[in-house]
Each structure stands twice: as structure tokens, then as C-alpha cells.
């Protein structure tokens, strides 16, 4: 698979939100985004950078604390890289690849 960035240095990826997190992102579950392929320090874009980028560029809700606390995704949210727990992929150090699917799942409690 082609893992390189496009001509403008962006990585096309799909970001999805479920379990109510979509309410923070224009009430839209699925977003096709072009993520800068390098972070603020010129390093390859990883999940930690993606989370910062989402807070700055995609989030429409004001309750950032419903998504991020203490610099990382808050407790009760699972992060899935291509349908696998990010803890299997190196957590926030995972380097994003072209066409990756990143899913943020907020746990539900109703019954």
C-alpha cells in the first residue's frame, strides 16, 4: 500500500467518532481529512499529533475536556487504528499512514 503523503505533504486519512463524540465534531461521524504529514517539530505525524490537530482544526464543540484530558484522550475513550486498539499499535506514538482509519469510541453505559 502506498503510505506516502500527497503532493502537498498531507496524509489522507479517515477519522470516525462514535458513542456521542460526534457531537463535538459537527455532529458528523465520519470525516475524510488531509493531515499534515509532519508535526510541529518536523517529525512524522503520529496519533498524538492527530489528537492535537483534531482539537485545533476539526472540533466544533467547546468541551475539549470531553475529548482530551492531561494531554491525551480522556478515560472512557478507546482509540482504534484500523479497527485494532491503539495499545496494540504503540498508542499515541503510532505513525499514521495514508488511508488509515482512526476510530474514537466513547464507552456507553445506558441499559
Amino acid at each position: 500500500m502506498d503510505t506516502k503523503a500527497d503532493d502537498e505533504g498531507n496524509l489522507p486519512i479517515v477519522v470516525e467518532f462514535t458513542g456521542g463524540l460526534e457531537l463535538l465534531f459537527s455532529n458528523q461521524r465520519k470525516h475524510q481529512i488531509a493531515l499534515p504529514s509532519t508535526d510541529e517539530n518536523g517529525r512524522s505525524a503520529n496519533l498524538a499529533f492527530l489528537v492535537r490537530y483534531l482539537c485545533q482544526s476539526l472540533m466544533t464543540g467547546r468541551r475539549k475536556d470531553m475529548f482530551v484530558t492531561d494531554g491525551t484522550v480522556r478515560p472512557g475513550i478507546l482509540v482504534l487504528v484500523n479497527d485494532a486498539d491503539w495499545e496494540l499499535e504503540g498508542e499515541d506514538q503510532y505513525e499514521l499512514k495514508r488511508n488509515d482509519n482512526i476510530l474514537f469510541v466513547s464507552t456507553l453505559h445506558g441499559g
Binding site: P75, H109, G110, G111
Partner: protein
Amino acid sequence: MDLPNNPVLRLRAQIASLEGVLADLKTQLIDAEAYYNQSASAKADSSGHLQIQTFSSSPFQPLNHHEKTFESLIDQLDLSQEDNWGRSGKLTLQEHTRYGRQLIMPEIGLRGQLRFKNAAALIVGVGGLGCPAATYLAGAGVGTIGLMDGDTIELSNLHRQILHTQKWLGLSKVDSAVEKLMERNSENHYVAHHCNLDQKRAVETMRKYDLILDCTDRPSTRYLVSDAAVLAGKPVVTASALRTEGQLMVLNNPPKSLDNPGGFCYRCVFPKPPPAESVLSCGEGGILGPVVGVMGVLMAMEALKILSPLHPDHGYQDPTKASCDPIPPSLLLYSAYSNPPFRSIKLRGKRKGCPSCSDTATITEESLKSASSDHAAFCASTSPAPPPNTSRISAKEYSKVREATESPHVLVDVREKVQFDICHLKGSVNIPYSDISRDPEASIDKLDHAISDGNSNTADGVSLYLICRYGNDSQLAANTFKTLPRFQPYAKYDFKGDISGGLRAWTQSVDPDFPEY
């Protein structure tokens, strides 16, 4: 021959069929009479420490001519031992008919049916998940079904809690469920626990069962079910639902034991509880009946798979055997409006140093009993509560403001638009709190616009009131507004207060005809 169109043939067939049922019932009656004569003294219930009632038809003895065959089969299947209620598993004539459709399936067969009959499942929470789960387990012939819930039935439960009906409003969910399940299948034994799961008794209650279904509705009980089940050595099927989505996991499967590290638990997936303010109940967030229903039905299927694992002949091993690889850890997601609606995601599984299920676990039966691990506190809000809005008025006081013709004012309803559209107080303006929190200035612009559009009174210093459903969001909105220049003294708006208790208080103390939803 076309039976339905020939009344003579149809009636003959009906009579023949009913005579068969009658003959079967007569045989059972003889058995039942014999059973009651033998044990005339009442059966002592060993589980009387809880507020428990048990419901069951008499455990019918199988017909003599079948006994030998069954005995040898049961020995072979190692199903001869008694369960917690002192019964052993054999099928009656009627059970062959009742379970015939699942009995002929290779995944179940006689072996599976006997396992169901001898199994005991505890359903914690008899609501949107528990009702469908219990219905299918009862239908399938799970011999003992424990039902635990301290709640009573409310009108707003009925769209999804399918065992409960209108005539049971205000009565116990557990009693309602037992009655309906008895109607479906009186062969099973139902154990009523009229209480919520209590951390002091959770482990010993679970020990009596083979499997736990977590059908609860809040994080603290979800952690407690998982922790107690790990200690009791029982697998857990856990699911949850909100709005249009559901989630399902199978925990502690195989169960942790001396010679098996066991499957992952709830704490392995969610080591830290979510912030309390991020947790929405079905009452706050909403829930579609079929969404939670689907999850409950899926729970029942996972439960049946655990109670009767496929036989090695089917290329599948009993996961309770230590030699078997654990089932790959996964979480099933259902999202009714997404495409595809179902998705299974791969989880990391057991967490090293997990306080509940690892070798170095710190949560013990003693710590649960002594309340040194307090689940409610563990899941309580870690962030400080918002500063209270000091300018609040009661619904009654506000009703006087409305009655006084010389007090023109603006009432802002901060509920979401979908709720505002259901019902609102006449003349109120809708600006959802979600908009206010996202962009307070823009929402005030919207207010300016709404007022100048619909009302000639645009003079400065117009009185402003806020209202919402229960009086929480209106308070948050008030706190947001107060920080804006346009809300400073002598500015455009004169903020008078928000209505404490919201529209619910309005219904309760002013206008009983205003809908409560």
C-alpha cells in the same frame, strides 16, 4: 390435502393434537403428584440471606423408561452433579417438544439442552437490555435465571423494556419479569433479587450462578459486576446502549482460576473511569427501543454460547478448559444509522498489573466487603462542580412574572431544538446550551435577532430568564452569559435568573398539563 380449507379435517387434526397434549399433561400431573407426596415438607431455600423469592414449577421427574438412557448420557457428559438449587438435568417429554427447534441444531443438541437446563444465569438489571436477554434465556430453557433490580416500572420504560406492561406501572421490575417469564416458560426456576447489586454481597451472590449478564446502566455498577465476577470466577456478558448505538463485550472468559489466568476484564479495557460529566443516562441522552433490544438479544446469544460451548466435533473447544487459547478480545459496536451498522474491533486484552484480574490484583473479596474499594466514589466526578448560579427563581415565582402584564421579558429555553419542538412555554426563544457553550457571542446575536424579529420591545435593559428541562443547563448557560459584556449591569440585557428545576418544576408546581417527557 388442504387442511385449513376443510373444516372436518382441520378439526380432526386439532383434536388429535390437543389429545396428545392432554395425555402429556396427565402424565406430568401423575409425576407432579408423586413428587409433592414425596416431599410434603416445604423445600428450604438455602439462599434466604437476600430478599429472595423463588418461582418455579415442580421439577418434574422424567418418565421411567427414559431414565436409563439419560442416566448413561449424563454420566458421559458429566452433567450428573447437582446445581446450587439441588437439581440435576434430564429432559421431560414436554421439554423435547418445547425445545425441539433448537434441540435439532448441531450447535445445541441434547448435550447443549441439558447444559442449559443445569445452568444458572444472573441478569443484573431488568431494563432495556435485561428484558430481551431474559426472554431468550427463559425461552431457551436456561434452568435457573436470577433477576436483580431494585427499580419499579415507569411509563417512560415501556418503549424498550419489553417484559413490562402498563398494568405493572409502579410495581417491581423483577416481579413483572418473573411473571412474564413464567408465562413463557414455567419449567425454569426464577430467582428474584429485589435489590441493586451491593458490593458487600456481590461475590457470594454470583458464586451461585454460572454466568453473569451485565444489563446495568451506570459505570460504577459495570466496574462492580466485572470485579465481583472475576473474584467469583464467572464469565460476564456486558453490553450497553445509548441513543442509536450499542456496545458488547464478553469478559473474564474463560474465568480466572488457580490454573487459568482468565480472560480480560472491564478494568483491562477501561482502567480509569470516564469523567462523571461525560456519562449520559438513557433519560438524558435518549435511547431507541430496538437499539437496546438488539444488544440484549445479542447478549442472550453470547450467554447461550458460553453455557453450551460447541463440542470438539464442531472444530471448537470448550473455552473453560485451561488448555484452550482464550477467545480473541473484541468489542462489538452497533450503530443503527451507520453503514455498515455492525463492527467488531480488536482489543488489547488482559492488562499487566490489572487491579482486578492480574496476578498482582489488589481488589479482593475482603476489600469489596469492607468498602475500601468504593465503586461509586471511584466513578464520581473528578472535576469540581460548576459554581452555582446565585440568581435563580422558582417556577412558581416565574409564573407570577408571566401573569403580570406590565413585566415584559424574554424567556430563553436552552434545551436542544428537538426537545424545544416537542413542547415549550409560549413566547420562549430557543437557543440550545450546546450553541451557547460553543460560541456565546454568536448565540447572543441570535437572541438579539429573535427579539427584534418577533417583539417590538428591543429597548435596553430587557429582563431575561433562562429555562431548560431540569434546571442544570440553564444554570450553566447563566454562568456563561454572565461573563459577557452585554450582560453587565445597565447593558442590553438585565439577567433576572434561571428557573430552578426547569420545565419539570413548571409541570409539577404550575401547569400539570405541560408535558413531561
